[in-house]
């Protein structure tokens, strides 16, 4: 008997017990739907983290003081040395793979305007600081080179700080605020960036010339970090090599000595967080896969019932010339149909659920075609695996015993 005929028989057998077939499929439907939804959510959150990280700056390469850390543990015994503005100059002169470099100085403190005050962080940078960090000016202007040289008491204000100090009515540009009691003039308002994936408000900040933050506010001579932009994502590795060399020269480090600074790149950050999110996705997927397994056991159970119920039918089929193989295939196709039809419903449900969750969380939820294809393969496999024993039981029946079965 050929596959088409066997499929017809299997389908009509299922149609005879529609509700039972549906209940049996339910296990598979829920299993497949949750696998697809979980993978989509995992993938969506990963993409969202990647977007967040890339919005932190353009191909950012950061230099920070301190020797290389691994899992929070200092490696080796190399001393760390504070970063200084001449390191920035050294990098600017020696590294062709970067387009921009800026020092970063930051300090936390209370900011006051009128009767309102608000705790925030004041970041200091060079004139290209906003480009490196991918921040736009919404109103007003960026500070100038002269203002950097003069350590002018000017700043750009983040939306959160502006809202808390001035409310929504007053235009913050042109106002004077006091940060740690030092009056600073607001010359621009920054474009909103919202919260990042880690729940940090990226609009809760002030940005001004690094000289201002360094000398007038913190009264320090070093800088906290050096930010630079590689010419492209691929050039990041090259940039790291160049910056390392420039930094070692600037710090006069001997050969064989360990770096007394550390370099972090955006690409590195992306891969770290991607791998965390991959682990989560795998975990969620594995938990959902268990429900798929339970669904498969449900199919096996109902196939056993079906074989027992239809023992006389099996006997009749054998008496009219059905071979063991024909009977085996008939029941196998029936169980594969159960699981594959369940799988199709599950895929539909999973896609719908994913997009609903996507709308609720605002994540770029992406249903992976691989997940859909995999579900299909897995469902077929489940049908064959869990249908095999009941089908074989049917195929191995003795014709006369099957015919006489009551």
């Amino acid at each position: 008997m050929n596959i088409t005929n066997l499929s017809k028989i299997a389908l009509s057998a299922l149609m005879r017990n529609k509700f039972r077939a549906f209940l049996t499929m339910l296990g598979i439907i829920i299993g497949v739907a949750s696998v697809i939804a979980m993978l989509a959510i995992g993938e969506g959150s990963k993409k969202s983290i990647q977007q967040q990280i890339s919005s932190m700056g353009s191909n950012l390469v950061m230099v920070m003081p301190g020797s290389q850390m691994m899992g929070g543990v200092q490696q080796g015994n190399a001393s760390s040395k504070a970063l200084e503005t001449r390191d920035v100059t050294a990098i600017r002169e020696a590294c062709p793979s970067i387009t921009a470099v800026s020092p970063e100085v930051r300090g936390g403190g209370q900011v006051v305007a009128g009767g309102n005050n608000w705790p925030t962080t004041f970041y200091g940078g060079d004139v290209n600081y906003l480009d490196i960090k991918k921040v736009e000016v919404k109103a007003g202007r960026m500070f100038t080179e002269q203002e950097v040289n003069a350590a002018a008491k000017v700043c750009l204000i983040g939306q959160t700080v502006a809202d808390n100090l001035f409310g929504t009515e007053v235009d913050p540009v042109g106002q004077t605020i006091r940060f740690r009691n030092i009056p600073v003039k607001v010359i621009g308002l920054l474009e909103e960036k919202g919260e990042n994936t880690f729940g940090m408000d990226q609009d809760d900040l002030l940005i001004g010339p690094y000289t201002t933050v360094q000398k007038r506010i913190l009264a320090i001579t070093h800088i906290n970090a050096i930010l630079s932009s590689a010419v492209s994502e691929e050039a990041t590795t090259q940039a790291v090599t160049e910056i390392t060399a420039a930094m070692r020269a600037s710090h006069r480090q001997a050969e064989g000595e360990e770096d007394d600074f550390q370099i972090r790149t955006q690409a590195e950050l992306v891969s770290t967080f991607s791998s965390i999110s991959d682990i989560l996705t795998t975990l969620l997927g594995a938990i959902s896969a268990i429900s798929l397994l339970v669904g498969g056991i449900g199919i096996m159970n109902i196939m056993y019932v079906s074989v027992t119920e239809r023992t006389r039918e099996i006997g009749l089929r054998m008496s009219t010339g059905g071979r063991g193989r024909d009977i085996l295939m008939q029941f196998l196709i029936e169980s594969v149909m159960l699981s594959v039809i369940g799988g199709i419903f599950g895929i539909v449900l999973g896609v719908v659920a994913s997009s609903v969750i996507g709308n609720l969380t605002g994540w770029p939820i992406a249903v992976m075609p691989e997940a859909v294809a995999l579900s299909f393969v897995v469902c077929t496999a489940i049908g064959i695996f869990f249908g095999w024993y009941p089908a074989r039981k049917a195929a191995n029946l003795n014709p006369i015993d099957a015919l006489r079965f009551e």
Binding site: R312, T320, G324
Partner: protein
């Protein structure tokens, strides 16, 4: 002399139930030739069904030989036996054994499904022809539960015919039917036999056996008597003598 379709020699069949051994058949010799219409008779438990199941290759004898249409079936594999049942044998059961919720036509098509050389078109045509031959041309799309017992048995007969077997095996095919319907079914079998079909028919009703051409009597698993029927009655004629049912 006509060709020998069934040749049985020294056939035995024992059943073991717990400690007890039941000798259902003890040294049976039987020969059935092409065109025979044989009634197998005997009291309940005498081994008639056991005999028929072995003839139908549904069960294997404990010992003895069985040649079906020249083939020794004792050494055949399960698949070869299935093929033999498909091509050479047709069954009619007491309880019809139709597939539920499956139309008469599809029930009749069943044996052809297991015959790969028959294409879908031919399958349909042959099933229609078989249903026509049993007088059910107007019931092809009915489900078994929409047919009377007699009609269901006709569908079963059509199913046994459709693959053009060398022999039709019927076990108490009229056992569930009233007299009139039994005669109708017997008339059908007589027609088939008149066209040359070999039929083995198990019954314990002498009246029914009177429509066949040869009677074989079983007792305690052995053949005790067999004889040709002189002037077998015509079931169709008998039907006309039955009083017309009035309510």
């Amino acid at each position: 002399m006509k060709k020998e379709i069934i040749s049985i020699h020294q056939l035995r069949k024992d059943f073991h139930v717990g400690e007890v051994t039941v000798h259902a058949l003890r040294s049976v010799d039987l020969s059935i030739r092409e065109g025979d219409f044989v009634a197998i008779m005997g009291t309940s438990g005498s081994g008639k069904s056991t005999m028929l199941n072995i003839l139908g290759c549904l069960d294997k004898p404990t010992s003895g030989s069985y040649l079906l249409d020249g083939t020794d079936v004792s050494n055949l594999s399960k698949n070869e036996l299935a093929r033999l049942r498909n091509l050479k044998l047709g069954f009619v059961f007491q309880s019809y054994n139709l597939l539920p919720r499956t139309s008469a036509l599809e029930n009749v098509e069943l044996p052809l499904f297991y015959n790969n050389s028959v294409k879908p078109r031919e399958r349909r045509e042959r099933a229609m022809a078989a249903l026509g031959a049993v007088g059910l041309a107007d019931r092809v799309h009915h489900m078994p539960n929409q047919l009377s017992g007699g009609q269901q048995q006709r569908v079963a007969i059509a199913r046994s015919l459709v693959n053009d077997p060398v022999v039709i095996l019927a076990d108490e095919a009229t056992g569930n039917l009233d007299t009139r319907t039994s005669y109708e079914i017997m008339a059908l079998f007589q027609d088939l036999n008149a066209k040359g079909k070999t039929i083995v028919f198990v019954t314990h009703e002498p009246e029914i056996a009177g429509f066949t051409t040869r009677n074989v009597h079983f007792r305690d698993g052995s053949i005790v008597k067999q004889h040709a029927v002189e002037n077998p009655g015509s079931a169709r004629e008998m039907l006309t003598t039955l009083p017309v049912e009035t309510d």
